[in-house]
């Protein structure tokens, strides 16, 4: 079932018009996928760099602890790519040792020319040890038309639930827009955070219009944003959205956008993981508050 464009727009309009989108204190924000209405936790986890620890048993145990905490906090999207070194194998190892916990929304990518795509997907599946992926995305638009053919065929055959296309670092937005208009996948993944906001102009509205779920990578600009803000006091009005740390502030800004489905901050620390997950609780900022948040960070 694909949720209609009208329903999504009405929902988005309601979210924008509502003074404050409130989740219950005990329930984390989960957003419905436009394609099916399936709710997905608004804070997932990325694996770029942090989970690329090779065969090191000590560091793998640390990653496993982060994954365990992620599932204790409700799980959600776990995102990786063949480009991320050993991250896929580390995730697969953690999933096996954690006894395949409930709450996993498995997301990976195809990062090669289309002729090699199926073999790479088979290798990725082997690393994760999953029967099928929830989401497979074309990494950085590589050979995107032909790779989407492969993913669509897998979805048609019931071997994949959702398809997607990714970009990062604000690159190739015109090409991504073309994909979203001409051949809309179920998901797009792009860079969006409180300072990298170019996608607000065209891509996020287009995602709403086309009924495409949005995953936001680099929510902390690879840790630069929390580092930059560390030591500065949060504004008093941040209490209105029940924010007590800068990472929560940064994540609430992202996941409260009506077009955004989830943010995927990467971390290797359990305390950071729990802090990130806590951003999905409590009231979310409305459009006016979001503008205020962005202006405040820009002024610092």
């Amino acid at each position: 079932m694909r949720v209609t464009r009208r329903a999504v727009l009405v929902g988005a309009g309601a979210a924008l018009a509502t003074p404050m989108l409130r989740t219950s204190a005990a329930e984390a924000l989960a957003k419905p996928l436009p394609a099916t209405g399936e709710p997905v936790p608004a804070v997932g986890i990325g694996s770029w760099i942090t989970f690329n620890v090779g065969d090191d048993p000590l560091l793998r145990a640390e990653c496993r602890a982060v994954m365990a905490a992620f599932f204790e906090e409700g799980g959600g999207i776990v995102d990786s790519s063949p480009m991320y070194g050993s991250s896929q194998a580390v995730i697969g190892d953690a999933l096996a040792k954690l006894g395949r916990p409930a709450g996993l929304f498995s997301a990976d990518k195809v990062w090669t020319g289309a002729p090699d795509g199926p073999a790479q997907i088979a290798e990725t599946t082997r690393h994760w040890g999953v029967e099928r992926f929830d989401l497979l995305q074309v990494h950085n638009l590589i050979d995107w038309e032909a790779n989407l053919d492969t993913l669509d065929a897998m979805k048609e055959a019931g071997r994949l639930r959702y398809t997607g296309v990714t970009t990062s670092h604000g690159r190739r937005h015109e090409e991504l827009e073309e994909v979203m208009r001409r051949r809309p996948p179920d998901f797009v993944q792009l860079t969006y955070n409180i300072v990298d906001r170019e996608v607000e102009r065209r891509l996020l509205p287009l995602a709403l219009e086309q009924g495409i779920a949005v995953i936001c990578n680099r929510p902390f600009q690879r840790g630069r944003l929390p580092d930059r803000l560390a030591g500065r006091p949060l504004p008093g009005w941040a209490q209105e959205i029940e924010v007590s740390t800068w990472p929560q502030f940064l994540l609430k800004f992202i996941i409260s956008h009506p077009a955004v489905t989830a943010a995927i901050p990467a971390t290797r620390r359990v305390d950071h993981l729990r802090e990130n997950k806590s951003a999905a609780f409590g009231p979310m900022p409305d459009a006016a508050m979001r503008r205020r948040m962005a202006e405040h960070v820009r002024s610092l």
Binding site: I49, T50, N52, V53, G54, D55, D56, L58, L59, M83, Y84, G85, S86, H169, G170, R171, R268
Partner: protein
């Protein structure tokens, strides 16, 4: 937004340093043997003895083969998918120094200030490099040892080539160590590690030592 070298860095510094701990654990007790042999070689060189390239060339080749295969391909390759390709440069260098040594095209008979500069750098590669880890506040287990870790192996090779005549045959084996040290320095500096500057200094010292003109024997005009 443009790609930077930092965007291409796939791992965190702690992951990179832990690779040396794992390598040292697997190679133990080779480290004290290698260190003792290295110190003995430096002392002998300082006393004027010059080794035959027919055994030192293949020995150096074995060091490149081991560092390339065990560390670069098998260990570094677990966190950097480019590493197994880079290891081919180590295998080529291994074959080159071994072949040049066995063929007689390579000798380590140099004397004078060029050779002294080479011996100084060799001592640094053998003895100073392992100190980088504790100087950085890390464990001795992460020490980088000549013949096991690529950086001191490359720096030590440049050092030994400063004892060889300066010609095209001895220029050729300078290429792989120089390229590796340049890449390593860039990686470490991007990681925010001060060791990157030390590696760069090692590279420049090695190239400078090799470039020093050979002194003609006394009486020759």
């Amino acid at each position: 937004m443009f790609w930077t070298f930092e965007d291409l860095l796939l791992f965190e510094p702690r992951v990179y340093w832990r690779l040396f701990a794992l390598e040292n654990e697997a190679a133990w007790p080779a480290q004290p043997v290698l260190l003792a042999a290295g110190v003995l070689l430096v002392v002998c060189l300082l006393r004027g003895w010059r080794p035959s390239a027919r055994w030192l060339g293949p020995t150096l080749g074995a060091a490149w083969l081991w560092a390339g295969w065990q560390f670069v391909a098998l260990r570094y390759g677990t966190v950097n998918w480019v590493a197994p390709t880079l290891a081919w440069g180590f295998y080529a260098e291994s074959a080159l120094v071994a072949g040049l040594g066995l063929s007689g095209r390579l000798t380590f008979a140099g004397r004078g200030r060029r050779a002294r500069a080479g011996i100084g750098l060799l001592a640094a590669a053998l003895v100073v490099w392992p100190l980088f880890a504790p100087l950085d506040g890390r464990s001795w287990r992460e020490a980088e040892i000549f013949a096991l870790a690529p950086d001191p192996t490359a720096a030590g090779t440049l050092a030994l080539l400063a004892l060889a005549p300066r010609n095209r045959w001895t220029a050729l084996p300078c290429v792989a160590p120089a390229l590796w040290l340049a890449l390593s320095a860039l990686t470490l500096v991007t990681m925010g590690a001060w060791q990157g500057w030390a590696v760069l200094a090692g590279l420049l010292a090695g190239l400078a030592a090799w470039a020093v003109p050979e002194e003609k024997p006394a009486g020759q005009t």
